[in-house]
């Protein structure tokens, strides 16, 4: 406690004063700012940026409330009983749990973090992290609606996403080192009552994950304006390049899994397998997710987990696409 007061005294300008002064300066400069943004590309980028944040916000709020509820109200012992003690089995079980729990990818990052803090094997929590946004009922229904006359797309998405989640979970079990992963410690936001813990955790998680959502939103908005549309059409004509291009695009566009099926459907020049890759990669790894994962689990984790997931997702969707969609 004494340490914290020391830290605070070291600042001459406290964050609160900074906030107040900043607000005044910005209000004074506002007309100039508006002129600065009075340019089509910047305006479009700022609209896209705000749109991504606004669209993701309710899902993020839902996610942090869910993860705070897990932290505050579900007893620790529950997870030990609910999941098989053998980690090799716990991975597919946790992956399958993603089917029942609706959540988008912004929500699943904090939820997976609180599962780990509650003693769930990291590999199983990671399988859940990957599968929950990809194969929940809302996402499957929207895929069905977005691909009329192609119900096998729904099956392919389910199988490929679940497969990728389980394989990455097992990979982590086999090759992952504990030092790479920073397990979020919940003990620090323990309140005086479960309800108090709940709201402290929710506030903390929202601020934390929200900050990283903003970084992802900025990157995606920049991409949206900077990428020439002609590139995509050239890529679509080559089957292998098409798959890679859709995978990269899924990462760059950072679309919520509830909506990505409609976007995938609109890339009509690309093969169904390429579009399946888009649907499998997108909910698991994209700019905003990488940023959120780095924030919650540490950078050492993100630089290993993201490429492993990316490659596995591409391989699994190519195989499933070749099997079901050709």
């Amino acid at each position: 406690m004494s340490q914290s007061t020391k830290t605070r005294r070291r600042f001459h300008l406290g964050p609160l004063e900074f906030l107040a002064i900043g607000a005044v300066v910005l209000v004074v400069l506002q007309p100039r700012l508006v002129v600065l943004f009075d340019q089509p590309a910047l305006q479009t980028a700022s609209t896209v940026f705000v749109a991504i944040i606004v669209q993701a916000l309710p899902f993020l709020v839902l996610g942090v409330l869910m993860s705070a509820a897990i932290a505050a109200f579900v007893p620790r012992a529950f997870w030990q009983r609910a999941l098989p003690s053998n980690p090799i089995l716990a991975v597919p079980v946790a992956g399958a749990a993603g089917i029942v729990l609706p959540g988008c990818e912004c929500a699943s990052v904090p939820v997976a973090g609180s599962l780990m803090a509650r003693g769930v094997t990291p590999a199983a929590a990671l399988a859940f992290l990957l599968s929950a946004p990809a194969i929940n009922p809302i996402v499957l229904v929207s895929t069905f609606v977005a691909f009329p006359g192609e119900p096998e797309m729904v099956v392919a998405r389910l199988i490929a996403s679940f497969g990728t989640a389980v394989i990455v979970g097992w990979l982590w079990l086999r090759f992952g080192r504990p030092g790479w992963l920073r397990i979020p410690q919940r003990m620090h936001v323990e309140g005086s009552t479960p309800w108090h813990t709940f709201r402290l955790t929710a506030s903390h998680d929202f601020l934390h994950a929200g900050g990283f959502l903003v970084i992802g939103g900025l990157a995606a908005a920049a991409m949206n304006v900077a990428m020439p549309t002609e590139w995509m059409e050239a890529l679509a004509s080559n089957p292998l390049l098409a798959i890679l291009a859709m995978a990269v695009l899924a990462v760059l566009l950072s679309i919520c899994s509830e909506a990505d099926a409609f976007v995938a459907a609109s890339f009509t020049s690309f093969s169904l397998t390429a579009r399946l890759t888009f649907l499998v990669v997108g909910p698991m790894i994209d700019l905003k997710l990488m940023s959120m994962q780095a924030g919650i689990f540490g950078r050492a984790f993100a630089v290993r987990f993201a490429p492993a997931t990316f490659v596995t997702a591409i391989l699994v969707s190519s195989i499933v696409g070749w099997w079901l969609l050709s």
Binding site: P15, V50, G210, L253, S266
Partner: protein, 241 residues
């Protein structure tokens, strides 16, 4: 980040969310169906921020907990420090108020319509019958205009200037939010000289009849409309189709 500042950031994000979803501004960014969710999450954030502020003002019953958390994560340049970034969307909403997407985005989108189910029903009654621009494009390109033959239609959209001095009528549609907007475009024929000189971005209603296009139907085809009247209108509340 102290608890007071955390509380203020939560409150600001909550208030900004409520502010855009209370009126119609949110329609520039997301679909109408998001509104209840935005109102609820804005309210949740305001309540969380408010309670945290009360905690902070009362001196905080367990300040040590929160601060040790900050120490643990602060060295990683992550942690609650990232929460400062949440002020960016708040600033964007209150200071810049990014407008709805328009001509710039429409010009970048070369795909005009996705090949879809040809089993489109007949148009509803009406003379002229108002038709969504995207619906008109689908009917004209993928149903060979069958359901449009002999009908007087009215289309709403904005002017998208072309390099040759003509313009297309365009409107954007959202799959999910403004990050994935895509455009529908129609080429008006027989515009008056006055209509032809409208500046880019002007919202208009065109009334006229479908005429067949000589080109083959592809995802890039831009269907035609033989215009009988052009009326300049106010931008609609929901700018997207």
């Amino acid at each position: 980040m102290t608890r007071e500042v955390q509380a203020i950031v939560l409150l600001l994000v909550g208030i900004a969310t409520l502010r855009i979803s209370w009126g119609t501004t949110y329609l520039n960014y997301v679909k109408e169906s998001m509104r209840p969710w935005l109102l609820v999450s804005g309210a949740v954030l305001v309540v969380l921020g408010g309670l945290l502020l009360v905690d902070a003002l009362r001196g905080g019953r367990e300040p040590a907990n929160n601060d040790s958390d900050e120490d643990e994560e602060g060295h990683d340049h992550g942690g609650p420090r990232a929460a400062w970034l949440l002020l960016l969307p708040v600033l964007a909403i209150f200071l810049i108020a990014p407008p709805a997407l328009g001509a710039y985005s429409a010009a970048r989108d070369s795909t005009n319509s996705v090949k879809s189910d040809p089993s489109l029903g007949p148009l509803p009654p009406g003379d002229p019958v108002p038709v969504y621009l995207s619906d008109y494009v689908t009917r004209a390109v993928w149903d060979e205009g069958r359901s449009l033959v002999g009908r007087n239609v009215s289309l709403m959209g904005f002017v998208l200037s072309q390099p040759d001095g003509s313009w297309l009528l365009a409107r954007l549609q959202l799959a999910c939010c403004a990050a994935d907007a895509f455009a529908s475009k129609v080429r008006p024929v027989n515009l008056t000289a006055q209509a032809l000189s409208l500046p880019e971005g002007t919202w208009v209603t065109l009334t006229g009849r479908w005429i067949p296009s000589p080109d083959e139907s592809t995802e890039m085809s831009i269907p035609l409309i033989d215009v009988s009247s052009t009326r300049v209108i106010e931008p609609p509340v929901n700018p997207y189709d």
